[in-house]
Amino acid sequence: MSRQSNRTTDSKKMNAELFTLTYGALVTQLCKDYENDEEVNKQLDKMGYNIGVRLIEDFLARSSVGRCQDFRETADVIAKVAFKMYLGITPSVTNWSPAGDEFSLILESNPLVDFVELPDNHSSLVYSNLLCGVLRGALEMVQMAVEVKFSQDTLRGDNVTEIRMKFIKRMEENLPAGDE
């Protein structure tokens, strides 16, 4: 659609390095301020949450994705549309639990952690925890409560970065539009 291509050329192309540097400055400043890795992780999650509740509107306005009917569809949309749109990467969706309520997103590369190495005194820091908050906040705005955490992280020595997402419940106190 010509209208949508007008929209994407409107968005300014930003240098990815600047993005990585900005995020890095943010995390290091938080570390200095809080001096406690757990606290920093919590703050990153909170910040991510605030980003997520706003990002979802932008995502819905720009893509014409309708309401997902089940968690599998949600996983596909997140991996193929959302991650592609915002970070330019397409993670793969794997490791479904037997009940179909948990899955993993495997990220081959993570633009937030280009050139980052975790020092030894920050071993429990989840550097990209912002992403967890973003996913949690965005899904909460479309009435889905989820739990998101990193189960593998290349910064901690693993081969890939794995985000584990677990579906908790559908939040019913919401749209009167009979979308259930």
């Binding site: 209208r3 706003r54 509107e57 749209l175 539009a177 979308d179």
Partner: protein
């Protein structure tokens, strides 16, 4: 261009935003001699015509200005009560402007919230499961289109009944909302966009919404084109 106004309502029915684009307002100014032949009454703090429709002055029109000076509710610009002023024959001849009253912001809040409740009832009454609620309400004077996002924000547009291309417009307005309101970190979600305190002034959204409205093709264009030989 026949888009009358744009409203935005949040998930709980609270008012977020409103923009009026009245192209023409039915107003009529006439010079009157004593005694006044329209019967006036006070309604909602305004002086309205209750009987005596003639010459473009219709029942329900409010008294907007006397001799060019805007009135202030039921008082003239100088603070005199209008009904008393009009009973005094020494004030005549004078010219009075009648027209559709402009709605105060409270009055705009009400229809927006009321529509939210109607929308909820509408989707529950629907015989089909999974109804998306009221999409369009049509009357002989206007059409009211509603678009509900997956996050519960309702965007409502009032247009001329012959206007088409509103789905595009609604999507565009959703994009504008998601850009201006959300990318501004000082704006708290679901709060009304009207005060500078929120960090987002109503005026900031006017320009892009106006541009979006002008891009909607006017129904009169094709009508004129088909009439031309």
């Amino acid at each position: 261009m026949a888009i009358f106004s744009v409203y935005a309502v949040n998930k709980s029915g609270g008012f977020i935003y409103q923009y009026d684009n009245y192209v023409h307002r039915a107003e009529a100014e006439k010079t009157f001699r004593y005694p006044l032949d329209c019967v006036l009454k006070i309604h909602d703090e305004k002086v309205v015509v209750s009987f005596g429709q003639r010459d473009g002055i219709r029942v329900g029109n409010a008294l907007l200005s006397i001799n060019g000076l805007d009135v202030n509710g039921k008082f003239t610009a100088d603070g005199k009560e209008i009904i008393e002023y009009l009973k005094d024959s020494t004030n005549y001849p004078l010219s009075i402007l009648f027209g559709r009253a402009r709605l105060s912001s409270n009055e705009k809040l009400m229809p927006a919230s009321m529509f939210h409740s109607l929308f909820a009832i509408g989707s529950q009454l629907s015989p089909e499961v999974g109804s998306t609620g009221i999409e369009m309400l049509e009357t002989d004077m206007f059409k009211r289109h509603c678009f509900q996002t997956l996050t519960g924000i309702k965007l409502i547009v009032l247009t001329d009944p012959r206007q088409s291309g509103i789905d595009e417009l609604l999507r565009k307005i959703y994009e504008i909302y998601s850009d201006f309101a959300l990318k501004n970190p000082f704006y708290s979600l679901a709060m009304p966009i009207s005060h500078r305190v929120q960090g987002l002034h109503q005026g900031s959204l006017v320009a892009p919404i106006h541009v979006a409205i002008t891009l909607v093709p006017s129904p009169l264009m094709w009508m004129r084109a088909s009439l031309e030989p």
